[in-house]
């Protein structure tokens, strides 16, 4: 990477094509976006894939119904990490419990949406696009938000997905392309240190095709973004130093990569990571415990790292799952697909504590919790109060933001 000239790279990319560089916006939109974004704020989304069992995450330990419906799975009163006289965290969520005590965690309870769908894929798509299956779904809420918000005067991607799995639908945009990054090392194109090779692949990826094949246009613009992003991201790795010890798991690794990218001054507004495995139909206790420990410890380490960089007023973490799980346990020491569940916001500027009400265990619908807060109300808070954008077109409807951030944030 020694002889590398970013300048030559950027100069050789043609700005005229619809989607060429990172942001990929047309020039007029570039300007509008630059004006729209001043805060430099960052959202890190953690997707808890598979349907997190909210009731064993934020536990209504004082409620006898909880124990009755979960003879095998209920967490004993004396081992929960108390939040108040009714609720407590799962014992392996020490990371969250500490964040709450430090005033850096908000727990939004009973989040869901009307007429809930219990299919993983459908429900996840609903969370990601804010649209039902009968609607046309050709972009996601983060994609739409970044089209409005992102500060694309630079060349950094507005959003980055960490991981090798397919990109979340929420990041789908009709105008922007967002890279997926597994590790910084993997993001380095081999041979790119050789000038002639680099220039050849770069120019050939940039040249717009004009043969009426929309798939080819898509692949061309994606290849162009990839080669640009590769250069930028591999160059940032050198800057990062941290005294925080991250736990050894994949989520922590990914969050640390996010921390590295943030520390390098990348102008990216949204990072997206996943923690998979929450579909606990059978033998739930061990699996769920391990997942929650990963979640709590990794987010805790990440927030500590961000604090040390003095970036804490710029970064919020948001964790969600596509649904909670059935209140009553099943016969396989597991739980089936349910509905409402908690969401989490972490960072220095979140309104720490419990937000909203725990859904009643008595008043169920088909054996499932009734939601109190629509997930789009949290999104609205993120869009309006964190990113200072209008949420209505992004969310395809008007949703009252739930107070989730401290005033003037």
């Amino acid at each position: 990477m020694k002889n590398f000239s970013r300048r030559s790279f950027l100069q050789s990319s043609s700005v005229g094509a619809a989607v060429v560089t990172f942001g990929g916006l047309a020039p007029s939109a570039l300007q509008a976006a630059a004006e729209a974004s001043k805060s430099g704020r960052i959202l890190v989304v953690v997707e808890l894939t598979g349907g997190n069992d909210g009731l064993n995450t934020v536990i209504p330990y004082a409620d006898e119904t909880y124990r009755k419906l979960r003879p095998k799975l209920s967490i004993p009163k004396n081992s929960v990490l108390r939040i108040n006289d009714e609720l407590g965290f799962h014992p392996s969520l020490r990371g969250f419990s500490e964040l709450l005590e430090a005033g850096k965690l908000a727990v939004v309870q009973g989040v869901g949406y009307p007429d809930p769908n219990r299919s993983h894929f459908e429900s996840m798509d609903i969370w990601q696009t804010c649209q039902r299956t009968t609607d046309v779904r050709n972009d996601g809420w983060l994609g739409r938000m970044l089209e409005e918000y992102s500060d694309s005067s630079g060349t950094d991607p507005a959003g980055i997905h960490l991981g090798t799995n397919k990109q979340p639908l929420s990041l789908l945009s009709r105008k922007l392309r967002f890279p997926s990054v597994r590790s910084l090392e993997q993001f380095r194109l081999q041979g790119i240190d050789k000038v002639q090779f680099r220039e050849t692949v770069h120019d050939l990826a940039d040249a717009s095709r004009d043969n009426g094949n929309a798939l080819l246009d898509f692949v061309q613009s994606s290849t162009s973004s990839a080669i640009n992003a590769s250069e930028r991201l591999t160059a940032t790795d050198a800057h990062y130093k941290s005294a925080v010890a991250y736990p050894e798991n994949e989520l922590a690794q990914q969050l640390q990569t996010v921390a590295k990218l943030i520390s390098s001054g990348l102008q990216t507004s949204v990072y997206y990571v996943r923690l998979d495995g929450f579909d606990t139909h059978s033998k739930q206790p061990d699996a769920h415990q391990a997942l929650l420990r990963q979640l709590g410890d990794s987010v805790n380490a990440f927030i500590a790292d961000i604090d040390q960089m003095s970036m804490s007023d710029r970064v919020t973490v948001m964790a969600f799952s596509e649904f909670g799980r059935r209140v009553a346990e099943n016969a396989s020491e597991g739980t089936d697909h349910g509905t409402a569940g908690p969401m989490f916001l972490a960072g220095s500027l979140v309104k720490a504590g419990l937000i909203g009400k725990q859904p009643s265990l008595q008043n169920l619908e088909d054996g499932d919790l009734k939601h109190h807060t629509d997930f789009r109300q949290i999104y609205a808070a993120v869009i309006e109060d964190w990113f200072q954008c209008k949420s209505e077109t992004i969310l395809k409807g008007s949703f009252a933001p739930v107070k989730s951030f401290v005033t003037n944030s």
Binding site: R118, R137, H161, T164, L172, P179, F187, S282, E329
Partner: protein
């Protein structure tokens, strides 16, 4: 997402038997297309032979191709070794090897389709033996009877373990398998109700996996009346599967997926385009071979609606490149690389399988694909017709950079390469040394055109 419905393809024209014409000629390009879709790819020599025959007869030949017993025996002993290792990744390598070397490519391509359809991951089903059993089931029914395949899959230990249905008790029916058989295997979302799922789940109570085999436990079966799709009866699990198969949505759902996999990513076939095939599929007792033959013999398949209108999956990308150059390599490393690119054999990302199409592509996977090319051609384990890449091209009497580029375009590209791109790559390849061949070949296979199949 991104469903561009198409309303201007005439179904009558689309599914009529292909006849070569000026717009859709039968030539090296269309023959290579047929091999890419009905398999993974073919060598220049194979394409030349195919183009000299009648296209429809060529399709029949592809369907009739059988694995010689020597090959089947070799596969069996390699599978045994993989099982003995206890490592499912060895099984992924084994399947990669099979795709790379089988003379019956369609069988593997169709098996891959069903692996994505009845997706089961060794991430959860950690026993190599059970994954192999399922893989063999999918292969033996890959162009067989769909209803029988569904029934067998419903009793398949790997599937039931994957969907947490290894125990299924009367008092607490597990809904997972009932949901997926409707949503993902037969009907598609929107063609059933939540209540249908709950009732169907009751039918499956008493189904168990014991000592790695399916067993029916009558003591745990809920023998009461169930109401599914408005029909009432004391349905068993098998009755439940049959009820699902009888739904009108089943042939439509399966045919749509076949069209998307074998013909085109986009546009998504609309109802009118699916209808004639769905009707035939239904009337034929949902036998897969006749419907797939009709698809691969159709005007639509040999038209520009299809050629170059699919994003290659990682398996199609890597196996395809190697097959058209008689390549062989370390298949363990290859299988791992394909997994990193998003398509781990035996490791689909979820029960929904791979979404395919545009979702294969993002910055990370594109850079990974490009790096895989360089790793493959510089790895000494990779041989082309048992030689180095350079010697292979010399053996084909390809002495100039331009002739290599043109040769590659003919066998490995579904979309033509512009002269300007050829010029640039030629100058990168120019000084005819092994290292400049690597640079040029790597740049060639990093072209966006190379991602389409």
């Amino acid at each position: 997402m991104n469903q561009i419905l198409n309303n201007n393809i005439d179904p009558q024209w689309a599914w009529s038997e292909y006849k070569a014409n000026d717009e859709c000629p039968w030539n090296l390009r269309t023959a290579a297309h047929l091999y890419r879709r009905a398999g993974f790819g073919a060598t220049h020599e194979e394409i030349v032979i195919a183009a000299g025959k009648e296209p429809l007869a060529e399709v029949d030949e592809i369907f009739a191709a059988k694995e010689p017993s020597s090959f089947a025996n070799e596969m069996k002993s390699l599978a045994d070794a993989a099982i003995a290792s206890g490592n499912v990744r060895q099984l992924s390598a084994w399947w990669s090897y099979r795709m790379l070397h089988t003379p019956a490519q369609l069988l593997e391509k169709a098996t891959l389709f069903w692996h994505g359809h009845f997706a089961t991951s060794a991430e959860k089903v950690t026993q190599a033996k059970l994954m192999l059993t399922q893989n063999e089931l999918l292969r033996s029914f890959s162009i067989g009877d769909f209803p029988e395949l569904v029934m067998k899959v419903s009793h398949d230990p790997a599937m039931l373990l994957y969907l947490d249905s290894a125990t299924n008790r009367k008092a607490h029916p597990n809904e997972n398998f009932a949901r997926e058989i409707m949503e993902l295997f037969c009907l598609g979302e929107g063609n059933y109700t939540e209540n249908d799922i709950r009732e169907l789940a009751r039918c499956f109570t008493g189904w168990e996996i014991r000592r790695d085999e399916f067993r029916f436990n009558p003591y745990q079966h809920d023998a009461g009346n169930k109401i599914i799709f408005g029909q009432t009866g004391e349905f068993s699990g098998e009755d439940g599967v049959k009820l699902v198969l009888e739904q009108k949505a089943t042939p439509e759902f399966v045919v749509s997926k076949l069209i998307r996999f074998f013909v085109m990513d986009e546009p998504v076939a609309d109802e009118a385009l699916v209808a004639p095939l769905a009707k035939q599929f239904r009337n034929d007792g949902m036998r897969i071979e006749p419907i797939l033959k009709r698809i691969l013999k159709s005007n639509l398949f040999f038209s520009n609606y299809s050629i170059g209108r699919k994003v290659r999956s990682p398996v199609e990308f890597a196996i395809g490149l190697l097959r058209c150059l008689e390549g062989s390599t370390n298949t363990f490393a290859l299988a791992e690389a394909m997994q990193t690119l998003g398509q781990g054999l035996m490791y689909p990302p979820s029960v929904k399988g791979w979404d395919g199409g545009r979702t294969w592509v993002n910055s990370s996977t594109l850079l990974g694909r490009s790096n895989l090319i360089r790793n493959l051609i510089t790895n000494e384990k990779t041989r082309f017709g048992k030689q180095s890449l350079q010697d292979y091209f010399v053996g084909k009497e390809l002495y100039s950079s331009r002739s290599i580029i043109d040769y590659m375009e003919g066998i490995a590209f579904a979309v033509p390469i512009s002269d300007q791109a050829k010029d640039r790559i030629e100058s990168l390849m120019k000084p005819d040394t092994p290292s400049s061949l690597v640079e040029g070949f790597h740049a060639l296979c990093t072209l966006p055109e190379f991602q389409l199949g």
